[in-house]
């Protein structure tokens, strides 16, 4: 059988809008049977913390904080899944692995797997990201 295409995503942003965008992109890749490696870097690791992840009040916008309310209301009106739900759906469909960078985790007081939401598969170093990026057919930095 033909090997699946690979996507490598460096998820640096911990902002609600970019997390949502990442979720849409990952689930689209999953629908296309791509294998996806997501590397959770710096600010994104904060968003993957258990006490932060599904609390929209704790997640900022990348820019224009004043449109956050409109952004959230719009997603709700259009029945758009939460960013976590997008990640969950993608994981159900195909081989999606979420890796948290160990330095990033430490920055937000998250050193162990149990500090993060269940979506996270492992805590890793930069070498794994570079290797995945080298092998990937598609590489994104969000």
């Amino acid at each position: 059988m033909e090997e699946n295409k690979k996507m490598c995503m460096a998820l640096h942003s911990g902002s609600l809008d970019r997390l949502t965008a990442a979720g849409v992109v990952i689930s689209g890749a999953a629908a296309d049977d791509m294998d996806v490696d997501v590397f959770v870097l710096l600010q994104a690791a904060r968003a993957f913390k258990k006490e932060i992840a599904d609390d929209y009040d704790k997640l900022p916008m990348t820019e224009n904080q004043e449109i956050k309310e409109e952004f959230v209301a719009s997603l709700k009106k259009l029945n758009v899944p939460t960013w976590i739900e997008f990640f969950e759906m993608a994981k159900e469909l195909t081989n999606v692995k979420i890796h948290v960078c160990s330095l990033a985790g430490k920055m937000w007081d998250g050193e162990k797997m149990e500090d993060f939401i269940d979506l996270v598969d492992d805590i890793c170093g930069i070498g794994e990201y570079i290797e995945s990026a080298q092998e990937a057919d598609v590489h994104l930095f969000i």
């Binding site: 849409v24 689930s27 689209g28 999953a30 629908a31 296309d32 049977d33 259009l78 029945n79 758009v80 899944p81 759906m89 159900e92 469909l93």
Partner: protein, 83 residues
């Protein structure tokens, strides 16, 4: 296929994804196709413009057969046969 022929098809699976925006219908189709057998026909109901192009492309790429799209009032039905 003509609209009449599409409408006359017996479908083995109907997916109503009208309540979701892109990529909802595509994800729903991807999930549902795993539940039917080769040669079975599936229809996807959607009101999302992006889906109109996405699902036919996806279907053909994945070895299924896109059969056609029927416009209804405020939504459309996409027909495909599992490969």
């Amino acid at each position: 296929m003509t609209t009449e022929e599409l409408k006359a098809l017996t479908v083995q699976k109907s997916v109503d994804a009208r309540g979701t925006a892109c990529p909802g219908p595509l994800l729903a189709a991807k999930k549902a196709i795993a539940e039917i057998g080769s040669g079975d026909i599936m229809e996807i109901l959607s009101a999302d413009e992006g889906t109109k192009k996405d699902i036919p492309k996806w279907a053909n790429k994945k070895g299924h057969e896109y059969m056609g799209t029927v416009e209804e009032a405020g939504y459309f039905k996409i027909y495909m046969k599992k490969g």
